[in-house]
């Protein structure tokens, strides 16, 4: 990854009729970066990707790739290539012709073309399948063909629209690792759209989280998880217990807060929050709460409650704990480590939390 910006998007807005699909999008991507656009269905991810590719015009703002303004450059002239969600494998062509489709326009010799096609197929581990018919490919092979077909064009930026969502879980996890490796090897900028937070977190250098047409936060996966900018983002990236709190004091980087149920705690100020105030929201990840039949030792605050539900997830167990004065049950995730913890619904339990586990999510009702 270099420090050079390859894509610069400033103030872009896209409307469909009166509906704003993407509003005031600002984003810079570095050369060689693996960037993911993450968000729920309909938030505008695909629209944003298609604007970069040149398939979608827009009302405001500008997009630059490699410093060049893209305004009048049609999709077929842009230094980008795309892997479509449906893969868009040409059904009337075989694998070789699919991958070689775009090379035809480059005026290469037959030999060169054949070489580049087979090189691209090697890259995605489909070497030798040139003459296979499109209809004879499995889902994972189709995905690879689509990837090879785009990569063979040696684009500056590879755009991927939910490239793995059509694959089953096992294959998807394999491909996640492989694609990440390929991207690091080639050093090409990847921009991937996904609605799966695990996929985004395990593959990307940086993630942009979108809601309802707005890019809410752009950050590294760990930061996104540890310092989400608001309730929406926090909930989208993994489980989260939300609690109301009041700020009682401020000290450099920390805030003294009085958290519903738990009482006084000291939290790190979250630089990403969009607005701060006295009445704030804090979040605690389910896996960062301690649960026990007795009051556990060494925590900064405690809360008593009753187990209302238990959900077994295999590698972890989720306990739903109802506590007096709190509307929602608190969720506690306990790793399935020898089943050392085992509570039944109706049992009274103690919860413990440390200051470092409490996340400042900024002013309530923003």
């Amino acid at each position: 990854m270099s420090d050079q910006n390859i894509i610069e998007i400033t103030g872009v807005e896209k409307r469909f009729g009166s509906f704003v699909a993407v509003s005031d999008l600002n984003l810079s991507l570095k050369e060689g970066e693996f960037f993911s656009l993450l968000g729920p269905s309909g938030c505008g991810k695909t629209t944003a990707l298609r604007m970069i590719a040149g398939f979608q015009d827009y009302e405001k703002g500008e997009i630059r790739i490699g410093g060049q303004l893209m305004e009048d450059i049609p999709a077929n002239k842009r230094p980008t290539n795309m892997v479509f969600q449906s893969y868009a494998i040409f059904p009337h062509l075989d694998v070789g012709d699919n991958v070689g489709f775009g090379l035809r326009k480059l005026g290469l010799s037959r030999k060169e073309m054949r070489e580049r096609v087979s090189e691209a197929l090697e890259m995605v581990e489909l070497g030798g399948l040139e003459r296979r018919k499109a209809s004879e490919l499995s889902g994972g092979q189709r995905q690879r063909v689509a990837l090879a077909r785009a990569l063979v064009m040696r684009p500056k930026v590879l755009l991927l629209d939910e490239p793995l969502s059509a694959l089953d879980k096992k294959l998807r996890e394999n491909m996640q690792l492989e694609m990440r490796r390929l991207q690091q090897k080639l050093g090409i900028t990847f921009v991937m759209v996904t609605h799966d937070q695990y996929e985004a977190m395990t593959m990307s250098d940086r993630i942009g989280v979108m809601f309802a047409g707005q890019l809410k936060q752009v950050d590294r996966p760990e930061q996104l998880y540890a310092r989400p900018c608001n309730r929406e983002v926090a909930a989208f990236i993994g489980g989260m217990n939300f609690l109301n709190a009041r700020v009682t004091g401020e000290n450099g980087d920390t805030l003294s807060v009085d958290v519903d149920g738990f009482g006084p705690l000291v939290v790190q100020k979250n630089p990403n929050v969009l607005a701060s105030g006295t009445d704030i929201l804090v979040g605690i990840r389910p896996e960062q709460l301690e649960i026990g039949a007795k009051q556990p030792d060494g925590y900064d605050a405690y809360l008593q409650g009753t187990i209302s539900d238990v959900a077994f997830y295999g590698e972890s167990v989720h306990y739903y704990v109802r506590c007096e004065g709190l509307d929602d049950a608190i969720v506690v995730a306990v790793p399935n480590y020898f089943h050392t913890v085992d509570h039944k619904p109706g049992e009274p339990v103690w919860l413990g939390v440390q200051n470092a586990s409490v996340i400042d999510l900024g002013a309530r009702e923003q």
């Binding site: 590719a53 398939f55 049609p74 999709a75 077929n76 002239k77 980008t80 290539n81 795309m82 479509f84 969600q85 449906s86 868009a88 040409f90 059904p91 009337h92 489709f101 775009g102 326009k105 480059l106 018919k133 209809s135 077909r149 785009a150 064009m153």
Partner: protein
């Protein structure tokens, strides 16, 4: 678990219905071998002379050539118009789309005699004499709804990201159409060509009003079935047409199967 044997009423009905459909059609060949000019039972005897005479019937052959010309041009014109329109309807959302779609379907529901008489008036008033050209114009009009609906279903199944993929890979708009769109919707185009050709080939009312001194086959047949001496020739021709269309269809089916076998 065994399925209870039920009487296949629907299958019986379907078979009876097929007989209903085929009965009149199969009488044509039957009477084309009848040795007599009055087409009525009982059958007088077997002869091949009506077939043998076909070759000499110059006007009949001319009428057939006219119909072939009109049918082909109509099929091409209606399918091209339908191809673009259907693509627009399936791909793009635009003001007036529904209006335009409704309008294009209108020829299906205007009584033939009204279309025919008013077109005749129109063409004459703009100085276009009745001719094969006017018949083609009229037939393209009535065939268009068929072309549009066939092409629409072809484009419905067509994944538009295929075109974007081609464009994305550097192809031009025209190149994309040629290298991707056309080959993929080709079966739809073929079936639209076939259907619109058939519509034109069998159309009578418009052709009757709009043809000049070059009658199409139905117009010729119309003048023939009213004069008994030529009727058996016409029946012979009708039987040949039926047979060739069946053969054509079987060939088309053969190729269709071969191509689906290789793609699935």
């Amino acid at each position: 678990m065994t399925a209870v044997a039920r009487i296949p009423w629907l299958l019986i009905y379907a078979t009876a219905y097929l007989i209903f459909l085929y009965l009149p059609v199969l009488l044509l060949p039957l009477f084309s071998f009848n040795d007599g000019t009055i087409v009525a039972f009982p059958i007088k005897g077997f002869t091949l002379k009506w077939y043998a005479q076909l070759g000499e019937q110059e006007t009949l052959l001319n009428a057939m050539v006219n119909s072939l010309i009109v049918g082909s041009v109509t099929a091409l014109a209606a399918t091209s118009l339908g191809l673009f329109a259907a693509r627009a309807y399936v791909r793009y959302r635009f003001a007036g789309r529904e209006l335009s779609e409704g309008l294009v379907m209108l020829p299906l529901v205007i009584p033939g005699i009204i279309v025919a008489s008013s077109m005749l008036v129109l063409f004459i008033s703009i100085g276009l004499k009745p001719s094969l050209t006017t018949v083609i114009l009229g037939h393209t009009f009535v065939a268009l709804p068929f072309a549009v609906s066939i092409m629409k279903s072809a484009f419905d199944d067509f994944d538009q990201s295929l075109e974007e993929a081609a464009y994305d890979l550097g192809e031009t708009v025209v190149g994309t159409f040629r290298r991707v769109t056309l080959p993929i919707v080709a079966p739809g185009i073929v079936s639209s060509l076939l259907v619109t050709f058939t519509v034109s080939f069998d159309e009578f009312v418009l052709a009757f009003f709009l043809s000049g001194n070059q009658p199409t086959l139905p117009v010729y047949i119309w003048s023939q079935i009213r004069f008994p001496a030529k009727l058996p020739n016409t029946l012979a021709l009708g039987s040949l047409l039926l047979m060739s269309s069946v053969i054509l269809l079987l060939i088309a089916e053969y190729f269709r199967r071969r191509s689906t076998k290789s793609t699935s």
